[in-house]
């Protein structure tokens, strides 16, 4: 290529020297650190997760699938879905309302409300369950009165729903409060000066601004609602086919040495967790982009 030598279009670029990063460890130290992190994760997360699926499939796919043909197992799945279907929307509404109230108004007891929202995170789920037994149980405060009117709360679906709502209460509100605080109320005020009424502002301005955060909160709320064990265990009464949710069913089957059944059911919960994780990652990616855009805005 004689022409290239006579008319070099680009001067040859100097090779970049391998410069060590300004902050960083030596190569062996890095390898050890990364190795330790991955090893630890494998030991306490990946291995048990894989164990759930292998145990479930130990006696073959047939036995695995047969575990779901069981009437009680199906009832547990249906009940879990029902409880989630009631408690997640309830906390969605509460979370939006609480975040709205906390970020848009100042009122007496506001800081107390913020603290109270976190209570379910700091209190042991078993204690949460016991509180409901104290309130609604046969010897509880309002239990006898409700029973006299034909409404059974403890050892029945209403109790499961209440306990689940209690435990999953912070997720949506906690997710929304920082977002709404960061965004301020200028957008809503702008809509107000343009003549929009409250509902229009919420639907066309507020909701689009918080939608990714809201979805994220709902996702976490749902994962917890389906997987909750402690509080639900206290109020459930473990009546097969009636008040056993999936996590409770897993425990029962396990205690009865029905390992395939227990792990099959557990694998569904684990799968659910994985799906949530994937959705969460997708959302974080989407929502990070959205947040970056609103920061530039």
């Amino acid at each position: 290529m004689a022409t290239d030598e006579t008319f070099p279009l680009d001067p040859p670029r100097p090779r970049a020297l391998p410069v060590p990063p300004p902050i960083g460890e030596t190569a062996p130290a890095r390898r050890i650190l990364i190795g330790a992190a991955i090893g630890f994760l494998a030991l306490v997360l990946a291995l048990p997760l894989a164990g759930v699926f292998t145990e479930g499939l130990r006696k073959g796919l047939g036995a695995y699938l047969a575990a779901f043909a069981d009437e009680d197992a199906l009832a547990a799945i249906r009940l879990t879905l029902l409880v989630a279907a009631i408690s997640v929307p309830a906390n969605l509404v509460f979370g939006v309302a609480a975040a709205w109230a906390i970020t848009r108004f100042s009122f007496p007891g506001k800081s107390a409300l913020i603290t109270l929202i976190d209570l379910p995170f700091s209190v042991s789920p078993v204690v949460s369950g016991l509180v409901f037994v104290l309130l609604f149980g046969a010897n509880g405060l309002v239990g006898p009165w409700l029973a006299a009117h034909g409404l059974k709360v403890i050892f029945a679906v209403p109790g499961l729903v209440l306990a689940t709502i209690f435990v999953t209460l912070p997720f949506v509100a906690r997710e929304l409060i920082p977002i709404m605080q960061a965004q301020g109320s200028a957008d809503e005020e702008a809509a107000l000066t343009l003549g929009a009424d409250g509902w229009t502002i919420f639907r066309r301005v507020t909701l689009p601004n918080i939608k990714w955060g809201l979805l994220y909160g709902v996702l976490l709320c749902n994962a917890r609602a389906m997987g909750e064990f402690g509080a639900v265990s206290v109020v459930s009464g473990h009546i097969r086919g009636l008040t056993n949710t999936m996590p409770l069913q897993v425990e029962i089957l396990y205690n009865e040495y029905d390992f395939v059944g227990a792990f099959a059911m557990a694998s569904v919960l684990a799968l659910l967790a994985l799906v949530t994780l994937v959705l969460k990652t997708i959302l974080e990616w989407r929502y990070g982009d959205e947040l970056a855009r609103s920061a530039r805005h």
Binding site: P208, N209, R293
Partner: protein, 363 residues
């Protein structure tokens, strides 16, 4: 539409943000609310728009008492400091928002809305950006879209909160001219808030200077600049040197030196003399103030000197750059325009012409 404000007060908890203001905003004028941060200017604007409830007092839009009218029925256009554009809507949808929010009976048809949006985009000189999202616009473009959105609902008055606060110097300048032009073409009564004196003086028909929730002065830019009504306004608008003086028998003395202002100054006691840097001339040693140059620097088209009067007071003066002055030089200064404020708030000002002196008393 003119606005009358009577006895308007606003407290935030224990903190009084506005103390009983009275103000008349004339129909069709471009009015600036000027003040340092914390002066209450933005609070006043938000109370006028109905975004804050006043603690006391009334606001009249024309003859109508608007004090009880909620924001969404006040028909005001409000441009927010950071524009508050709806980031999930295109520019066209942002501008159309107010029209689409009207009740069904008053809402224009889709075609009519589209036409109005195009018209407004034309007015703010962004006809090609209808499909963009706010994040794809520059600061100046967002400001224009925010204005178009506010104008879409045909407001009775237009309020702008620090309209150029977040823009760089060149864009600010262009937008100032552009806003003045839009105002003159559309004739909306416009009130804007700013902390930038240049902006207020250049753009507004009248300027309201606010300090600590009180009105210090209302006037045209010339009045505000040439005849500041209080020491605060003198300090806040433009540069000025403050020189403590004593007044006795119509004579002004600085330290032990008598200063000949060419007029008898009515009043007695300690006072403060204010002089702007460009309102000094170099004297011939006769009735002037001896001073020593401590620093010189280039300041726009002039050369600015820092001097120390023999009494120890620092003053700044502007000179033509051609005049050669060095640090340590001794000069004699005489003010050509000045104002003296007595401690009770009374003031007297004057200007030394070529042929003599004239004095004006105020307040």
């Amino acid at each position: 539409m003119g606005i009358r404000i009577r006895g308007l007060a606003k407290d935030f908890g224990d903190f009084p943000a506005l103390h009983g203001l009275d103000l008349d905003i004339r129909s069709g004028e471009l009015l600036a609310l000027l003040g340092p941060s914390g002066s209450g200017k933005t609070t006043l604007l938000r109370v006028l728009a109905g975004l804050e409830q006043p603690t006391e007092g009334r606001v009249f839009f024309g003859e109508e008492d608007a004090s009880e009218t909620p924001v969404r029925e006040r028909r005001v256009g409000f441009v927010f400091q950071h524009y508050a554009l709806f980031r999930h809507m295109t520019v066209a949808d942002n501008i159309a928002f107010g029209l689409t929010c009207k009740p069904k009976s008053e809402r224009p048809s889709g075609a009519e809305i589209k036409r109005r949006v195009e018209e407004l985009l034309e007015l703010v000189q962004l006809p090609t950006l209808a499909k963009r999202f706010p994040s794809q616009l520059s600061g100046g473009q967002r400001q224009r879209v925010a204005l178009a959105r506010a104008l879409a609902v045909d407001p009775r008055v237009l309020f702008l909160d620090e309209p150029f606060g977040a823009l760089d110097a060149q864009v600010r300048k262009d937008l100032r001219k552009w806003l003045r032009d839009i105002h003159d073409r559309t004739g909306y009564t416009t009130v804007f808030v700013t902390h930038d004196q240049d902006e207020a003086l250049e753009l507004a028909d009248r300027v309201v200077v606010l300090n600590k929730g009180r009105i210090e002065q209302i006037g045209t830019p010339d009045e505000i600049y040439d005849a500041p009504a209080s020491p605060f306004v003198f300090d806040f608008i433009g540069d000025a040197s403050r020189i403590p003086v004593g007044v006795e028998h119509g004579r002004v003395a600085i330290g032990g030196t008598r200063l000949d202002l060419g007029v008898d100054v009515l009043g007695a006691g300690p006072a403060t003399l204010f002089v702007r840097p460009q309102h000094w001339r170099l004297g011939d040693g006769n009735g002037g103030l001896p001073a020593t140059v401590t620093a010189t620097r280039r300041h726009g088209t002039a050369r600015r000197l820092d001097l120390t009067l023999d009494g120890g007071t620092a003053v700044e003066i502007d000179l033509a750059p051609e005049i050669a002055v060095a640090v340590g030089d001794r000069l004699t200064l005489a003010p050509t325009r000045w104002r003296i404020f007595f401690e009770d708030g009374r003031s007297i000002g004057g200007a030394l012409g070529e042929t003599g002196a004239s004095a004006r008393a105020a307040g």
